[in-house]
């Protein structure tokens, strides 16, 4: 099945052994964020704003403080005023999102926190904190926020990226623009032009584990923190910023993490646990309820996107014009930048303008979600491309092949692509039996493609060889999808010892060098490269020790199959076990560190084929069949590559069909539960067929590209295109819920 340039003949890379952390997870022993209990631990509870936009006139904590069992009550006044201290605006936003100061900017915004001996006491005390608000008018969507006389969230917000800078503040944080060629000429050359407008709603990452943190602090401000996080070094940095302390005073340990998908790259609870812990001199545990998770964390942007594209008769895209506005939530920083760069990145288009706006509104601050920004843009662009293909009577796959970016194509966002595997994913779809399976009544088939950069960034790894020749591989990248297995597989390959002899560990912030967050599909690539580097240092060291043992020159020693061999066979081989057992004689313990800022990120592409069945009387769409083809570069751990592909697709299906934030007119979220925020359940889905494409990334020792994110980019358009194929209506709003589909069918019939 794999499209591969060569069979590399690896012994461990590409195999499917049992994951190192699996046993603890199937026996209930694995310790997640909320599982930690410390002696004397207090329970915390957060007080949140019931209003979408309001000025805080006063907070009276006296009643709460006098309640039984209550040990600390804190408000925004208990944290440094970063704005007054001249901190970077983005740090000020992090602090103000963690706990509100003058104003609350969304329903669920934190205003205070309490800590008490029991859970029930903490809950009662939280209810007893009296906050007086002056309710302000609010804006919930990009349209409301961009309106001329819209109420402002931030009085000083001047749109960035506009020259000359506007004199008046607005809710538009920034503008982005990419352009090339001549639009007018491009559309002039087109034989078919389609223009459509799309809207999407905020959706949540939906990890099953709510955020949790335990902090144990002392009066001197030093603290130990355990948290559920995608990046405990980043948590340390943010927490230190909000508390106004040096990062070195905080030790952060990453608990096992129950899903993140980008949503656990930011802080919510950690400073709110540290401060009361410091006051009380006791550990404090804070765990969110599910409704707090929905109201105050996560989501990714709701959007409005306009796309106009033209093609010639032979299927070449002659021009593309994309306008997009992304909700940032309460603080600047929607993923519109990435959206602008990814929107048309799959294709080689001579003439285009991509314009985007980052817009604040009174909803929770958006957080990264799997290929942040790209899925909504792809929904719009891939839907329009589908329609163009129909207009010129070309197959959906073929129009994509006719325009596909290849090595050397100048990407819409700037640089030329190195070796990429987009075409190979398109061909993998065409070669799969699903492509020609016959469809039944009311069934339809849709294709869509997606692009994501993947990230590199900074990683560190330490490898220790134990005295019996096994090895411990230490990294600082929280494992959210099986990355410990990938680390162990690459280390086994490098050291030449069995996978089972490697123990991969995720260490705390004091035990391993710095690591950026687990995000951007970067861990197997970048942390994996650090592991490979450290293993290679170990191998060099082992060769030197063998050379010393044999009294030969270093170049007389090779490392093959986990043992030192004399190039001429003049000495019996020395295994890792032999060398480790006698390491004291050859220089002491065998250990190596590697730290890097990763280079050679390999772009990821995914093409997907979706079959749906639509009930024309109720508007219900069911997924009948689904195929995803993705370029993994190299699948180090095929089980978990497939897992990422399948998981991304199913999140996308949820986004396509039913998931959405619903707010009432007061800006209060109406569906903050798994009952009404409808993520897919097992019975909603078929098996998700995977075709792993392997076009190795030439810049990585094992050809890794990163696989975590791009899988969520195509599904919404794939589903929408399939619905169109089934019942001939073009869906331009997400979610494509039964209500919306039936409305579209009714309008079509009229």
């Amino acid at each position: 099945m794999a499209v591969t340039e060569e069979n590399p003949g690896y012994k461990w890379v590409g195999t499917r052994p049992i994951r190192p952390d699996g046993l603890e997870k199937v026996t209930g022993k694995a310790r997640f964020g909320a599982d930690l209990v410390l002696p004397g631990m207090l329970y915390g509870k957060v007080v949140r704003s019931p209003h979408a936009h309001a000025r805080i006139l006063s907070i009276d904590t006296s009643a709460a403080e006098s309640m039984e069992g209550v040990k600390a009550v804190i408000t925004g006044d208990d944290f440094p005023d970063l704005a007054a201290n001249g901190a970077h605006p983005s740090d000020v936003d992090v602090a103000n999102n963690t706990i509100a100061r003058d104003k609350v900017l969304y329903e669920g915004h934190v205003v205070a926190a309490v800590a008490a001996i029991t859970r029930e006491q903490a809950e009662a005390a939280a209810k007893a904190v009296e906050v007086t608000y002056e309710v302000l008018p609010h804006v919930l969507t990009v349209d409301e926020a961009m309106a001329d006389d819209a109420p402002l969230l931030h009085e000083g917000m001047i749109t960035k990226g506009v020259d000359p800078a506007p004199e008046e503040p607005s809710n538009i944080a920034s503008k982005i623009l990419h352009e090339r060629g001549d639009l007018e000429q491009g559309f002039g050359e087109a034989d078919a032009v389609v223009e459509r407008e799309f809207t999407t709603k905020p959706v949540h990452q939906g990890y099953i584990e709510p955020h949790a943190a335990v902090a144990d602090s002392n009066s001197d401000g030093r603290a130990n923190i355990w948290c559920s996080s995608q990046g405990h070094f980043q948590m340390r940095a943010y927490t230190a910023t909000v508390l106004g302390v040096s990062p070195g005073t905080l030790k952060v340990t990453a608990a096992e993490i129950g899903g993140g998908f980008g949503g656990k790259t930011v802080i919510y609870l950690e400073p709110l646990a540290v401060r009361p812990s410091q006051r009380a001199g006791r550990p404090v545990k804070l765990v969110m309820d599910r409704d707090e998770v929905f109201r105050a964390t996560g989501p990714t942007s709701g959007t409005r996107i306009k796309v106009k594209m033209g093609v010639s008769k032979d299927g070449k895209i002659t021009a593309a014009e994309v306008w997009m506005a992304y909700e940032a939530g309460a603080f600047a920083g929607s993923p519109v930048g990435a959206a602008g760069m990814t929107a048309i990145a799959c294709y080689d288009i001579p003439n285009f303008v991509v314009e985007g706006y980052d817009v604040v509104c009174n909803k929770p601050r958006v957080a990264a979600y799997r290929a942040p920004g790209a899925p909504m843009a792809a929904f719009a662009v891939e839907s329009v491309l589908d329609e163009l293909a129909r207009n010129i009577e070309m197959y959906a796959i073929d129009i994509r092949l006719a325009n596909a970016a290849v090595e050397g194509t100048q990407a819409a966002y700037g640089p030329k692509f190195p070796r990429i595997g987009f075409v190979e994913t398109l061909e993998a779809i065409k070669d799969h039996p699903n492509y020609t399976t016959e469809l039944g009544p009311n069934q339809g088939r849709g294709v869509a493609a997606g692009f994501w950069f993947n990230a590199g960034m900074m990683s560190s790894a330490t490898v220790h060889v134990n005295e019996n020749g096994t090895a411990t591989v230490v990294t600082g990248s929280p494992d959210i999808g099986g990355s410990r297995q990938s680390m162990a597989l690459m280390a086994a390959e490098e050291l030449g010892i069995p996978y089972e002899s490697i123990k991969p560990v995720v260490a705390d912030t004091e035990t391993v060098g710095f690591n950026d967050v687990t995000g951007g599909s970067r861990v197997t690539l970048a942390t994996g490269a650090a592991v490979v580097d450290a293993c290679r240092l170990i191998v060099e060291d082992l060769r030197a020790r063998a050379a010393k043992t044999w009294d030969v020159e270093l170049d007389q020693v090779e490392w093959v199959d986990g043992q030192a061999q004399h190039v001429e066979g003049a000495q019996p081989p020395l295994s890792l076990n032999d060398l480790a057992a006698k390491s004291g004689r050859t220089g002491g313990p065998i250990s190596a560190n590697a730290s890097l800022n990763s280079r050679g990120v390999g772009a990821g592409f995914s093409t997907q084929l979706c079959d749906v069945e639509v009930d024309p009387e109720t508007g219900v769409t069911r997924i009948v069949r689904y195929l995803t083809a993705q370029d993994a570069g190299r699948a180090i751990s095929p089980d978990y590559v497939e897992g990422q592909m399948q998981g991304g697709v199913v999140q996308g299906i949820g986004w396509a069909l039913n998931e959405e934030y619903i707010h009432d007119t007061e800006g209060v979220m109406e569906n903050p539960s798994f009952l009404d925020y409808r993520m897919p359940v097992a019975s909603d889905l078929p098996m998700i067929d995977c075709s792993i494409v392997e076009v190795p990334n030439p810049a990585h020792p094992y050809g890794v590209r990163g696989v975590g994110e791009v899988g969520i980019v195509p599904p919404m358009a794939a589903v929408g295109n399939a619905i169109h194929d089934a019942v001939n209506v073009r869906m331009t709003e997400l979610p494509m819920s039964p209500v919306k589909v039936l409305e579209a069918l009714n309008a079509h019939d009229e």
Binding site: G161, V162, D163, K175, I176, L177, H178, E179, Q205, G260, F261, G262, G263, T265, P335, G337, A338, G340, M341, V353, A367, A368, Y369, R370, A371, P372, G373, Y413, G414, P415, K416, F417, P418, F453, N454, A455, G456, M457, M458, V517, G519, G520, S521, R522, N597, S598, R599, G600, V601, A699, G708, E709
Partner: protein, 81 residues
């Protein structure tokens, strides 16, 4: 001379130019030179999180070498999930 390309969003600072040639051996040198040509552009470029040099994307690329014929793009900030 390295070829430096500007996204449309940056061109307001480069007198509308989409591309210039700069003589520099590292990204830092390149930014310094550009800031002399277009005052203010240096700060904006330093804010960009990533730089693509000959198609390869770097984060915090300040000291990355740039060769005689390198093609350099400054990219908008983006975050992975």
């Amino acid at each position: 001379m390295a070829q430096v390309h500007f996204s449309a969003g940056l061109r307001e600072l480069t007198e509308g130019l989409a591309q210039v040639e700069v003589d520099a051996s590292t990204v830092r040198g390149l930014i310094t030179a550009l800031d002399e040509m277009f005052p203010g552009v240096g700060d904006r470029l330093s804010e960009a999180s990533s730089v693509a040099i000959d198609g390869e994307i770097f984060t915090d690329a300040e000291y990355e070498p740039v060769s005689e014929n390198s093609e350099v793009h400054f990219l908008d900030i983006f975050q992975g999930g």
